[in-house]
Subunit: 408 residues, 2 copies
Amino acid sequence: MAYRALSEQEAVQYVKQLPDLFAPEAELTSREIGDGNLNLVFHIREEATGKSVVVKQALPYARVVGESWPLTLDRARIESEALRIQHKYVPDLVPKVYHYDEELALTVMEDVSDHVIMRKGLIEGNRYPLFAKQIGRFLAHTLFYTSDLGAHPYDKKALVGRFINPELCKITEDLVFTDPYEDAPTNNFNPLIKREVEAIWNNKQLKLEIAQLKYDFLTRAEALIHGDLHTGSIFVSPTSVKVIDPEFAYYGPIGFDIGAVIANLLLNYAGQHGLQPDAGKREDYREYLLATVEDVWNEFVSQFVQLWHKQAKERSAHTEGFWQGYVQRLIRDAAGFAGCKILRRVIGLAGVADLNSIADDQTRAEAERLALAIGQALILERNKVEVSTDITDIVRTVTARYYQEAVV
Amino acid sequence: MAYRALSEQEAVQYVKQLPDLFAPEAELTSREIGDGNLNLVFHIREEATGKSVVVKQALPYARVVGESWPLTLDRARIESEALRIQHKYVPDLVPKVYHYDEELALTVMEDVSDHVIMRKGLIEGNRYPLFAKQIGRFLAHTLFYTSDLGAHPYDKKALVGRFINPELCKITEDLVFTDPYEDAPTNNFNPLIKREVEAIWNNKQLKLEIAQLKYDFLTRAEALIHGDLHTGSIFVSPTSVKVIDPEFAYYGPIGFDIGAVIANLLLNYAGQHGLQPDAGKREDYREYLLATVEDVWNEFVSQFVQLWHKQAKERSAHTEGFWQGYVQRLIRDAAGFAGCKILRRVIGLAGVADLNSIADDQTRAEAERLALAIGQALILERNKVEVSTDITDIVRTVTARYYQEAVV
């Protein structure tokens, strides 16, 4: 049928006619739980059995900057295909896709709503001791097996073609790599940090590094990356992690996904300035966040290198010394991309609740200044990074200097 | 009509039914002038008017290593589309495509057979004073306008998709970047240089650099590159240059095309050892070749940077300091790729007449050893290269050392 946005009841009718999901006589409830800006998300449940699925339908626009912004429905195809590929490599970490409908730009998938959005969990001060191990595995497996290291050359190139994603890449190109670093109309920052933002706009060395990172984003077709791996795309429970929403997926630099996870842990770290009034508890939680940053990289790299040694099909991958240089470049890429992702969340169009939920403008500005200082340091000092503690050392040093100078 | 290889007479019938080429009553002669291994090439001419066209038809196999090797007919589409795009940017340097037939894997194009193959011209000791300026323009314009610098982001990504070229890329991946550096069955070298070849197989630093260059070839989608820009793909006349045969075109590293031109000039340079018995004339011609290497880079970079300043649509391209670092990386890439292309022509499956036409095995081995020494030095010393004379200095130093040690 031709595209139209479904109602809650139409979503029920839709899933009922699919084979193998519900019995024809099943009584189903339907609830739209999306934010309605980009997609409709229906939670459909059979009360009698407790069985449930999620129906996600793309809308042909994104409502941002107060106006309607047309956005390709092809992103639903990208998302469903990316979910299927990721599910193949890490089935426990990605919702299973039951059905994809191209006409309706709609995916029926496993319901993971027994998890919470990680960003929300972090804002509440919860800890997820299994998170680093699981996200490290997600990163290592999805990135290795879709890269030239782990995929057949023909398969990799076919995937590059299937994941050409110009419209969503353009959003990242503009909002992560361009607009925040000049006085662009899309920017949206706290007026109290204007001085710090202007210093960024005038920092030539910083802008040169960011231009190079953008060029890597534009040209380095290393692996099928998630493309938007912030803590709002990660669902967690005390024992489980689910990665969702890969509509930005395309062949890009591996470090971009790793950097996204690190950036969002560090945005929460900066936000703790306002989120947690008790200084002792704040320090304690920040230590947990920094340990998680280290663990995420360490888990990723240990599993990635293991896959490399055992599974790399690419003959040249086994050249002596190659993986060491490769991994060193990855952590530097990750640090640089993390920096851009931190800066853009403070200066650019789309903020994060870790900072925005700090009600007091002055306190929020203090947290945002810390985030800006961390983001810049990660970008400018990334070429000195070799191991994960080099990243957290940068954060610690910047933080210490910040509290010293600001006397907050 | 379904695919079948055309005869000379069928090729005439084919072009006669096309509009705008020949009158229905025209009397045409047809001559198959291809080498018949990969493609049929018909030269079709109307004697009465002197008007002529070339019909190039892909064969569904490549006859190499003594056996039939199936090869996608899609390469005819790639070639015709690449010719059209290149022609758009440098119309005087690329044959015009009159017609493409997908079913028959056939392209009807401008006849440039009044030119000679440059490799042949160089072997005969001819000079082409306009070559560097024209190939520099070909490189600068075709690479700039298809890159993220000069193309709209959506157009670039659409082109990446159209030029996914797995089978022909795999040939390069194997024959340029892998097989020559290990004892592979495809290799085909002069038994007299076995010691030097084995030293390459055991040179860990060299193999690490080559693995990194291969990885760049696999992942760096910088521009629509020709992909096989050796002197057999370049037609020259005293006043004109025509670049043909872009069937290896795909989105790859810009330095690969530049490196191909440099490599083939230097293969001829090495070949002069046997091609030109008169030491004075040999030195003189070698100086011409080195000057041409410098001019090719200098012309490319001056035109590329001019386009960058005047035409770059990508906002971040205008970041202070960005183009300088970019161009420095390009010349290093070019030096490294040139090195690989030299080594593979000596060790690997497909040799070049600049060396192979030296009849005496011993003399040819001497020229080949010089080529191997130059290729290795370009790869190992590429990170010191900043300007074009750094490349030619490497060649001069290697040559001087070679003649000193060999006492040839």
